[in-house]
Structure formats: structure tokens, C-alpha cells
Amino acid sequence: MAEDWRSYEPLLIPDIPNLHEIDVYEENGGYQALRNILDNREGKWTRNNVTNEVKAANIRGRGGAGFNAGLKWSFMPDPDDRPRYLACNGDESEPGTFKDRNIFEFNPHLFIEGALIAAYAMTIDTIYVYIRGEYIDWVNIFEEAVEEAYEKGYLGNDILGSGIDIDLHTTYGAGAYICGEETGMLESLEGKRGYPRIKPPFPAQKGLWGNPTTINNIETLANVPLVINNGAEWYQSIGAEGHNGPVLYGISGHVNKPGVYEYPAGMPVMDLINEVAGGIRGGKDLKALIPGGTSTPVLRADQLEGVSMDSNSLREAGSMMGTAGMVVMDEDTDMVDLLWRISHFFHHESCGQCTPCREGTGWLEKVLLKIKNGDGEIKDLDMLLDLTTQMEGRTICALADAAAWPVRHTINRFRDEFEARCKKSVHAVA
């Protein structure tokens, strides 16, 4: 990653007052990518060309999975007489993640423009934007932007005289982490409990109401107009090898200046913690980092040297990029307490469809509570580790994996701390 991040100017959320207003957005080049595409749809910007450009840019999905967005678009079958949908995931419930709300609040039109370009590329005429229910204030802010876009003719019938019709409907949930899982979100959009679906069939084949559907994260789609305006090559020049573009880093926990920051992918982790976020509170030492939301494995401070925030570097270090929601922990952090609370979260949020998850998350929490309260034994730690292998990969969706990984990695990487909490008599025997 380039060392010049200090001179980086934000692209997703640039420092322009009132950019959420459509006039201001337009004055600053907004909706030019869409106009350009619609004007040249017989030439440079055919639907396929748009998809190919986005694919070449390799926008890694910002919702956590890191999948190439353009490649995902290319999975949509050719249009037939069925309706086709774009479902935009603004559920943002992964603990440590609080970035997409910034797009809704500060640059909603960039996202709307990206969603429109995606809909054009995939011949989609209906966009759903699903936002978590707790974000009701941001739902209302975003709906104002949508209304403006309708008034200006960017949404609705015959968009900018192109003869293309695209509608955008905003809706929201009512409190359920699992609705951030893409098929759980589809179920919720259909007005049901957010039970994830078995794949295959994948949403591109059978999504909303059984019709072809593509699901993208909000930040992912906000990257699309940048790619169209500047080209895939330019996009590839930002960030790290194999992980490009701007990233909204959410930094929280024991730092002096927590918040959301926009920098290129591949930022040096220690620069983010020490310079961007102002270092550890109270002059304390760094103990650990969860790099991309609760389900990404925790890294000890000594594992962070030379690590950068991109998928390759984090994989080598033993973790994942996830949502780039970085949770920083100082030297006083009680890892047993922390892991118990994480397990409580997953137990609470398990939808209950699959036995390994429904029961497994419950046992993880129960046993960790026992250890936290000083009643645990060494053998409980090994049972927990065994339990994680019995949950992983055995369920419909990845929630069981997301619950298992923190337990496995936190125990393995802080084993001494967990053993010290176990009963002393048993400790001696073991």
C-alpha cells in the first residue's frame, strides 16, 4: 500500500458540506456517471460493458464477504419474462460496523447512482433498499434523497429521457442480525422471519419471490460511479494488490479518536490505530484487534506487525477483512469477558433453524459464562474448541461459522488467560 495515505482525499464521503442535497451532489459531478452511461448505451456503455468494467475493477464486496461485485452481477441469467431485482443490503448489524449509515446520511446520491448503474447493467427495474430497523433516523434521511432523485427524473419512468424505468423502494427491518445474511434479508423483504435459505439455488437464479435477484452492500454500490467515471484501471491503482478502492474503516474500542474514516484499502493497521485513531486511550498498550467485525478472528498485538487492511495481508496474519469494522482493545481488556459477550450475541441472534447453530451457540455461551464466573475447568476449553468444529460448515448459513471462529481463535490466541480463569485445583491436575 502506498505510503501516501496522509494526502488521501475521501471519494466516498468527500468533505463537501450538504452533499446529501441533490443540487450540491450534481454541482460536484454527481449523476454524471449515470448520464454518461445512458447517453452512450449503444456504444461504450452497453449493459455488458458496464458489468465488465465493474468486474475488471474488482470491487471487493464491502459487506464482509469480499466477493467481486461485477462478477456477481454477471451471474444474473439473461432477461426473460420474470421480474428481476436488485436488493441493497443496508442491514449493517455486524458488531463493530457502523459505516453504511454515513453513506445514507452524508452521500446518499452516490449510492443511489451506483444502484441505478447496477440496475441498468443487469436489466433490473426494481431496486429494494433494506435498512436495519434501528436506523430509522437514517431511513428517513435516505428517503428524502430518494424523493429528490424521483423529482429530478433519476428514478421512475423514462429516466433522463432514456426510455428506461427503474423504481427504488426503501424498507426496513425490526431488529435481527440474521437479516444481514443475504438470503435472510430476502425472506425479511418478503415479510417473513429472517430465515436464511439453502443455496443453491443462488439468488441470481431464485431470489426475491423466486425471481433473479442480486444483492449488494451499500458501500459496494457507492464505489460503482467512481469506477465508471475514472475507469477500472484507475480504481485498481488505489489500495493493495487484489484489494482495491476506498474503504470506510470503522474504528472503535479503546482508541482516542474512534469513528469512521475513509482511506484506501490496504492501510497499515498500526497507522490506522496510532495515527488515524490517535492511539490507545490513556497511553496504554495495545493488546488485540478484531479487524473486521465480530466474526473475524481476533489478532494479538504481536501478530499485527507489518499487517495491512486488505484480504491477503489479513489472511496471512490469521484473520479476515470482513466489514473493516476494527475493534481495538487495550492491555487491560478481559478476553474471557469479551468472548463470553460475543458468544452471547451469536446465541441471541441465531435464527434457530439449524440444530448445530441453535444449540451450539447456546452451549458456547453457557460454558463461557461458567469459565467467566471462575467455575470452568481446563477440559471445558477443549470441549469449546471441539464444539466449534461441530458447528462450522454444518448449517444453512455462515452464522454458526461466525460464532465458532471467535471462540476458537480467542481461546487459542489467549489460552493462558482462559486457563488462569479456570478452577485452580483442576488446573494443577491438568
Binding site: 458488531p95 463493530g96 457502523f98 431488529g175 417473513k192 429472517g194 419471490w209 459477550r341
Partner: protein, 185 residues
Amino acid sequence: MAEQDYSFTQEELDEIERLKAKFPTDKAATLRVLWVAQEKYGHVEPEVQQLVAETLDISPAHVHGVATFYTQYYKEEMGKFVLDVCTCLSCQLCGGYEILHHLEDELGIKAGETTEDGMFSIQSVECLGACGYAPMLQVTNGVYANNLTKEKVDKLIENLRNGNMPEFESMVMRQNEKRKKAVSE
């Protein structure tokens, strides 16, 4: 308590029609109509679920399934103000439990309970997506109160008792100096 007649006004029914129009099936509007009902009655007890089912012409079992799946629907009557204190991950690290326990002490109830005068309920909740502004809480599924201290919580309680809801707080990125200035002006 006398038996209550649960029904939507014409205005609410018009709003429900508008919500139904977003989706190709009426069932898809279940979450949104439950919200309309909760807005009106303050909870979605079984009688309210029945009203939602009848309004959408779908099975009460479906509505019950949805109402009980999502945490933001109140399955019973709650206090006038529901204080959802986040204690998850970043909030745990930054004192979310201290805030929760302080509230419990101040209001004389535990998380999950409602004060006798019906003013306040407290809940310990999962991540609300405000991790950089921890500890924080949400008031009755609405506004977020960020960067809490015990003093700020006391002030919030006093304000709520006087009927003053906190205002929406815009958390501008620290990089956005100009925007920050514009917001503060």
C-alpha cells in the same frame, strides 16, 4: 382493563395501502404494518397482531411468527420511554455495562423491567451500529444518545421526564472538517 377495540383509522389504512404498493405481495408488508400498529398502540400484543393479519388478509400465525422473531416489536406493553442500552462488543469495552447498571440504580429496576409509574423500561441490547460513539443507547426505537457518561444519562432521564426527547446527533467523519463546520453553524 376494559376490552379495547383494535382498528386502524382511514388515514392509517391509506398509509398501509402505500406500503403494500412497494411489494408484489401483501404478505411482504407484514413488517411495515406491524410497525404502523406498534406506532399506534405502543406494542404488538396478540390482539394487535390479529388486526394486522385481518388488515393484510394473511394468517395470524404468520404475523405472530414475524412479531416474535424481531426484537424491536414489543410483545407486551412497555414504559413510555424504552431505553435500549447497547452492551455489545465496542460498547462493552467502553463501559456499556456501567451505563446499564447506573440506569438500573437510578430507576430502581433491572434490565427487562418497567418502572412502576410506567415511564421507563430498560433493555440490554445487541449492537446498534454506533460502535465509534460508545457507550450509547437508543430511546424507544428512535433517536440514538451517543458517547454517554453517567452525567449525560442523568440529564437524559431528567429531560425525558419533562417530555423532551434528545435530538438527532450527526456524527460527522473527523476527516470532514468543512462539513463539521457547516453542521455546527
